[in-house]
């Protein structure tokens, strides 16, 4: 047990024990208070900003509750040499987490899968024929993971793409809901996510009324599904409006 090797002693975090001891069964009742005291259908306050990274062609920072995400967009730039000729543009996505993003150090969920899901959510909205032969790189870094990470990453990426001047059919906004007991809660925090019985994530182009990505886990009855989708789409629309306002503000600021 004693770490003789000075370079890599085995360490453990003293904290995660308390997390699992405290609640868990509380959610099953009809009435309970969410960990941050929100209403069931109330989203966390969002802070959006474009132009966070100067060296990128476009970038955005979104902070929703404790979830903090920064996305940089590079390009369109030359595709890798090994790639074959393509008369439409390519999209390359990569998501990574900081080592301190999660309560336990280095406990990072699968970045490859998240990157693939980000790619799938975005590709439907980008007009790829506007940059043939080249690649647009979308890189995301999750500074702090506070729940609903993937939806925040997706919304932030779409904001960064718009900031970079990449042609889009529409802004993409993404919101998830969790199903806990009899209730549907929107924009869940990590704690709620880890106890959820079902989850639904919608990625939508609000002004076209189209869904580009939808993932459902857990057991859902039809009325519940309808309710969840309705709540989610309404929130997507609202978030989309906030994103549009943020872009307008930064555009008018740069004109002055």
């Amino acid at each position: 047990m004693a770490g003789k090797d000075n370079a890599t002693p085995s360490t453990y975090s003293p904290s995660p024990k308390i997390l699992k001891k405290k609640r868990a069964p509380v959610f099953t009742d009809v009435d309970w208070v969410r960990p941050d005291g929100r209403g069931f259908h109330q989203c966390r306050p969002a802070y959006l900003r474009t132009g966070a990274v100067n060296s990128a062609s476009g970038s955005a920072y979104i902070e929703i509750g404790n979830t903090k995400v920064i996305v940089s967009v590079f390009g369109p730039r030359e595709s890798k040499k090994a790639m074959m000729y393509s008369d439409i543009g390519r999209l390359n996505c990569n998501v990574s987490y900081t080592t301190f993003a999660t309560p336990t150090r280095g406990q990072v969920s699968d970045c490859k899968e998240i990157s693939a899901r980000l790619h799938k959510a975005l590709e439907g909205a980008i007009i790829l024929d506007t940059f043939p032969k080249t690649t647009v790189d979308v890189f995301a870094l999750v500074l702090e993971s506070g729940g609903s990470d993937l939806p925040v990453v997706i919304s932030c990426a779409s904001l960064a793409l718009a900031d970079a001047g990449i042609m889009l059919y529409d802004l993409i906004s993404s919101v998830s809901v969790s199903c806990l007991g009899k209730n549907i809660v929107i924009d869940p925090v990590s704690e709620e996510e880890s106890y959820q019985e079902g989850g639904l994530m919608i990625t939508s182009m609000a002004s076209r009324n189209e869904i580009t990505q939808l993932a459902i886990t857990g057991e859902w009855s039809t009325p519940k599904l309808n309710e969840a989708m309705e709540v989610c789409l309404a929130a997507c629309f609202k978030l989309g409006e906030a994103m549009r306002a943020c872009l307008k503000e930064s555009a008018s600021a740069s004109q002055e």
């Binding site: 047990m1 004693a2 770490g3 003789k4 000075n6 002693p9 085995s10 360490t11 453990y12 975090s13 003293p14 904290s15 024990k17 308390i18 966070a52 990274v53 100067n54 060296s55 990128a56 970038s59 404790n66 903090k68 920064i70 996305v71 940089s72 590079f74 730039r77 990569n94 990574s96 900081t98 080592t99 301190f100 993003a101 999660t102 309560p103 150090r105 790189d137 890189f139 995301a140 870094l141 500074l143 702090e144 993971s145 506070g146």
Partner: protein, 302 residues
Amino acid sequence: MSAVNVSGDMSSEMEIDAFRRLFPLRFFERHLLESIRPDARPLGKSRDTTLALGAVASADGSALVKIGCTTMLAAVKMEVMTPTTESPDEGCIAIEFHMPPICSPMVRPGRPSEVAPVVSKKLSDTILSSGMINLKDLCLVSGKAAWMAYLDVYCLDADGALFDTALLSAVAAFSHLKIPVVSLNDDGRVVVSEETEGQKLDNEPVNKDKRKLKLSSIPFSLTCILHKNYILADPTAEEESVMDTLLTVVLDSSCQLVSLYKPGGTFLAYDAAVQDCLALTRQRVKELKRILTEAISDMELD
């Protein structure tokens, strides 16, 4: 010589942006002649520096630092380890510097940047050798348990002077660090004591009076570019790419020299140049000290 003249003449005919891209060195030298830099700074002036403590809630201590456009986020996370037999009452600090792909167009995923390990090593050497942190302060139970402080510095936007920004953010993260109160449980493992009022704690906390690290002689640094007779303090990424001789001076808070680093380059550093750099750094240390103290007192007010 004629080539110089030709392009020199062209500077008045070409568009500035094109000239900047085609003849970057000449572009800079034209500015240096007028003792000014393209971003309107005098040669010896550093960029605006801002510091925010407590940027990340999931870490025990964190800080966000911006020097000009260069942005870094540093965070400290405390974990428990068994100390080595050689030094049973000392903790450990592990320092890592990351350059994720978001920070610069040069970094691509899967292909880590070459600069990152260099800065990482320099950062780790500087902090450990400066004696800023007494490793004995990290001890919990002698021979049994000690703190391992993981410091991770993430570069969010790379625009020159990476080491300076990284060091400032690291120092700030350590001064924001609040060590959790822990106690030994029945299995001999160290656990966080829950801060519930009125309820008696099961086990006596072992580090009640050691919530903050005492930082003595905090290191601050300034990187300068040496180019011909000019000294440019706090270079941007563009300046670093055009002129390649860098000199980094690290002084502690009482202006004692911690380290001086000159990784080669085309120009040699003469006595006078080194003296000038030292003088610039002394000035800069005062400025950085003020910024750090202000940030800390702001935090304590909240």
